[in-house]
């Protein structure tokens, strides 16, 4: 029988830590989430300012000002540094957490509402997306998180909403030659991925109507709003049998209303409950747990805090111990925690070390930062994370990174219970004392299936 603190830290957090007292019961585990709801320093307002600066420099370049070339390079370097700082903060939060349930939830929901990087500005927006759209709602209402996510600049850019203009909108009427039209990308994913789920009862007509309703959403870095009525399609629109925007002119409230209804749809609770159980417990999740998560979501009117509690208290955590592969982010955070590195150390990694410890290993393990490869996010199934190259990257990380970060490596025999508590397999207990060196002994612990799974 694995003690609750170890069970919860391994399954719902980033594993054990020699520096932190693990949460001892579900209440302590849940109380940790509050810290993860706090945003970081970087805001979308700041990113907009950076973007405007870049636009101004490029404007000068286009006007033939060759002196603007150097400022443009400096601008790019600064923006990239800002982005790496925000990325390191994500790792550091997990490293410093008591167990890290809140950070795991932030990752889960950010992946549910996947946005991807592209240019340097989109990369920055992907960071503010987590802080602004996801974190504040980790214990809150799903509808609020969904509204924040769908209207965030990172999402508006990623799913092409900024390109969508109502064909009957004032803008399209005024400039008929521009070929303005709808883009259904966001509308489709809102229903198919973010709420009801792909198997649910909706059709193309619902998506088209939702796309009309969404027209008007736009990220404009020089404006302080995201809804522009001149681009919106005159209503009303009917989505899943409900009529919105009856009074003609498009409004942001109508979008809030449709998101509220999508959130409350029975299919949404079922979809989210299963997805959460798959992510936190098992690729093929126990139906009883799915049912309890769904009930918590429905009974609480979309209360995510109630779902968090179901997970924290779930007996299935023990039944499916190590049923999941740690994704590369979880794995690296767990490794850093395990060897006793501090969050401060992670925050202060220089560019080269950031590459060696975080970004290159993440890419080689198959999880390049904010590049999930599609709006459906990272794969859950273990096989996706157990490719030969992915495993080689994990073994290399295990053997090489600890000595980059620590002056002196721990005795592997002492490190084994620090990293895995009472949960190490017999095979690993047998192997670790036989290692030839500290490097390899510590490496074998971190490379083991025990440590790669949760």
């Amino acid at each position: 029988m694995i003690p609750y603190d170890q069970l919860a830290a391994i399954r719902l957090g980033f594993g054990l830590s020699p520096r932190r007292r693990l949460p001892q019961d579900p209440s302590e585990l849940l109380s940790e989430i509050a810290q993860s709801t706090r945003p970081g320093d970087l805001t979308t307002d700041r990113v907009s300012a950076i973007l405007r600066e870049g636009q101004d420099i490029r404007q000068k370049l286009r006007a033939g000002d060759a002196d603007a070339r150097e400022p443009l390079q400096q601008h790019r370097r600064d923006a990239t540094r800002t982005r790496l700082r925000a990325m390191r903060e994500r790792f550091a939060r997990g490293v410093d957490a008591r167990a890290g349930f809140g950070e795991r939830l932030a990752w889960f929901w950010a992946d549910h509402f996947t946005v991807e990087g592209a240019d340097v500005y989109q990369n920055l927006l992907c960071e503010t997306f987590v802080d602004e759209a996801i974190r504040p709602h980790l214990n809150g209402r799903f509808a609020d998180m969904m509204f924040a996510a769908e209207t965030h600049p990172a999402m508006l850019r990623y799913l092409d909403q900024s390109r969508s203009v109502g064909p009957g909108s004032a803008l399209a009427q005024r400039r008929p030659k521009k070929g303005f039209g709808l883009n259904e990308n966001l509308a489709r994913e809102m229903i198919e991925l973010h709420s009801l789920g792909v198997g649910a009862d909706y059709d193309q007509r619902d998506i088209e109507q939702l796309a009309e309703l969404l027209a008007g959403l736009l990220y404009a870095p020089r404006r302080d709003r995201v809804f522009f009525p001149a681009r919106s399609e005159p209503g009303p629109e009917t989505v899943l049998g409900v009529e919105y925007g009856a009074d003609g002119q498009g409004r942001l409230q109508d979008i809030r209303a449709v998101i509220r209804d999508l959130s409350a749809h029975p299919a949404t609770g079922a979809h989210l409950a299963r997805k959460m159980a798959v992510h936190f417990v098992a690729d093929d999740p126990p139906e009883a747990l799915v049912a309890r998560l769904q009930a918590a979501f429905v009974d609480g009117g979309g209360d995510l805090g109630a779902m968090n509690r179901v997970l924290a208290e779930a007996p299935e955590l023990a039944d499916h111990m190590r049923a999941k592969m740690r994704q590369p982010f979880d794995y690296i955070v767990a490794g850093l925690r395990g060897i006793g590195v501090t969050g401060k150390r992670v925050r202060n990694l220089n560019g080269r070390m950031t590459r060696l410890v975080l970004t290159e290993p993440m890419a080689l393990m198959g999880q390049p930062w904010v590049m999930a490869g599609g709006p459906d996010g990272w794969p859950e199934e273990g096989a996706a994370w157990g490719s030969p190259q992915g495993l080689a990257a994990r073994i290399n990380w295990s053997m090489q990174v600890p000595q980059l970060l620590l002056k002196e490596l721990p005795d592997p025999r002492a490190f084994l219970p620090v990293a895995l508590g009472d949960t190490a397999s017999d095979a690993l207990r047998w192997a670790v004392p036989k290692a030839e060196s500290r490097v390899e002994g510590v490496g074998i612990v971190l490379a083991s299936g025990d440590f790669n799974r949760r």
């Binding site: 890419a363 198959g366 599609g374 273990g382 096989a383 490719s387 053997m399 095979a427 490496g443």
Partner: protein
């Protein structure tokens, strides 16, 4: 954008390979399907084809390009009296003279108008048309090719490099490896890990495979590369093609030359040329049965911009090399650079779908029939007449 979820991530789970290794049970490889080899290099960022293969015989070029693409009088190497090779590609001149280098100066995918790198690359790698039911397209075209090839083994196709290659994503087995991924373990560490992974149904086969690939690498494989990624990619690719691999793909980036193109493009072209030369050198006799296709998501504007660069365009160039090709010539028509010739008044007009060349190569070298190429592999493609690309 294209819908990116459509590319199912594929982590190839494979059985043991036959590396001679004390801890592994040797297994025989299935025979590799034939001797023909195909390498697809994706040039990420949109290569300026007009600068790579400069149409100096087109009287309109001078008016469009003040400082770029100035032909043989400014260092480019004359190819055929009309086109000249950018000096950055000069290392490929011997191949041209030997009939082992060709290019299609004005091709494109069906992607139009939005000119987004990411969407353009997605479409290039998906191999789909705009009218296809894109949402049903779950894999890249090299993977769909594997799905219809007989005698496949998991070694047949390789995505080389850390960069994700959607072109090979899909249900057919393939391998991926970044040349820099080394796995240097002491014999003792290897033995201990073998013990630790032994009962893990996922990690045990993966570790065996990883160790086999890493140990199968010639120790000096990357020595001459001096850390240059493009050379590492090429040398590793050649190493695999000299064994059981027949299809390989990797990417080279650095083509988005909005400013200072005279320097930036030169660097990237030199890297591309060096990678192709390294492939040729390392493949030895196998070069004779190899076709290399270097493709980019779209071309760049016909007109040079105000910062000595070019912006996102439409028609672009594809480079083809290899001992298996009928080279020393430009492939397909030249659309011209006159005012009325340009696409949208600004871009080179594509005269042929880039997928047609890939389809013909697959038809002739791997015996895949036309109906499958135009249906399953490149849905909606009309292959058109045989460009007689291959020897």
């Amino acid at each position: 954008m294209l819908n990116r979820r459509l590319f199912l991530r594929h982590a190839a789970l494979i059985g043991c390979s036959a590396a001679a290794h004390p801890l592994m049970t040797p297994m025989a490889f299935a025979s590799a399907p034939g001797e023909n080899r195909l390498v697809v290099i994706i040039l990420r960022g949109a290569m300026d084809g007009i600068d790579a293969f400069q149409p100096y015989g087109d009287g309109n070029l001078r008016g469009l390009r003040r400082t770029l693409s100035r032909g043989p009088d400014h260092g480019a190497l004359d190819l055929d009296g009309f086109f000249a090779l950018h000096p950055g590609l000069s290392a490929l001149m011997p191949l041209w003279n030997a009939g082992q280098l060709a290019f299609a100066p004005a091709v494109s995918t069906p992607y139009r108008d939005k000119r987004s790198h990411f969407d353009g690359q997605d479409m290039l790698e998906a191999g789909t048309g705009t009218d296809a039911a894109l949402r049903d397209q779950r894999d890249g075209w090299l993977n769909r090719m594997l799905q219809v090839m007989p005698d496949m083994t998991s070694e047949t196709a390789y995505a080389v490099g850390a960069e994700k290659m959607r072109i090979l994503d899909g249900p057919a087995d393939s391998l991926s490896w970044a040349p820099r991924s080394t796995l240097t373990l002491s014999p003792q560490a290897e033995r201990l890990l073998e013990h630790v992974y032994h009962d893990d149904p996922l990690l045990h086969p993966a570790s065996v495979q990883a160790i086999a690939i890493a140990e199968g690498l010639s120790p000096d494989l990357l020595d001459d590369a001096n850390g240059a990624e493009h050379l590492e990619l090429a040398r590793f690719t050649a190493d695999r093609l000299n064994r059981d691999t027949r299809i390989a793909t990797f990417s080279i980036s650095g083509w988005d030359t909005h400013a200072g193109q005279a320097n930036t493009l030169d660097r990237s072209l030199k890297r591309l040329a060096a990678a192709i030369v390294a492939l040729k050198d390392d493949l030895g006799r196998n070069w004779d049965t190899t076709t290399v296709m270097a493709m980019t998501e779209f071309g760049r504007t016909a007109r040079e911009n105000g910062s000595g660069g070019t912006d996102h365009g439409t028609g672009g160039a594809m480079l083809v090399a290899g001992g298996a090709i009928r080279g020393g010539r430009a492939l397909g028509a030249w659309p011209g650079l006159g005012e009325g010739d340009l696409y949208d008044g600004r871009d080179l007009m594509p005269v042929r779908d880039i997928r047609a060349y890939a389809a013909w190569a697959m038809h002739q070298k791997f015996g895949i029939d036309r109906s499958r190429l135009e249906g399953a592999i490149f849905p909606g493609l009309d292959m058109g007449p045989d460009p007689r690309l291959l020897a």
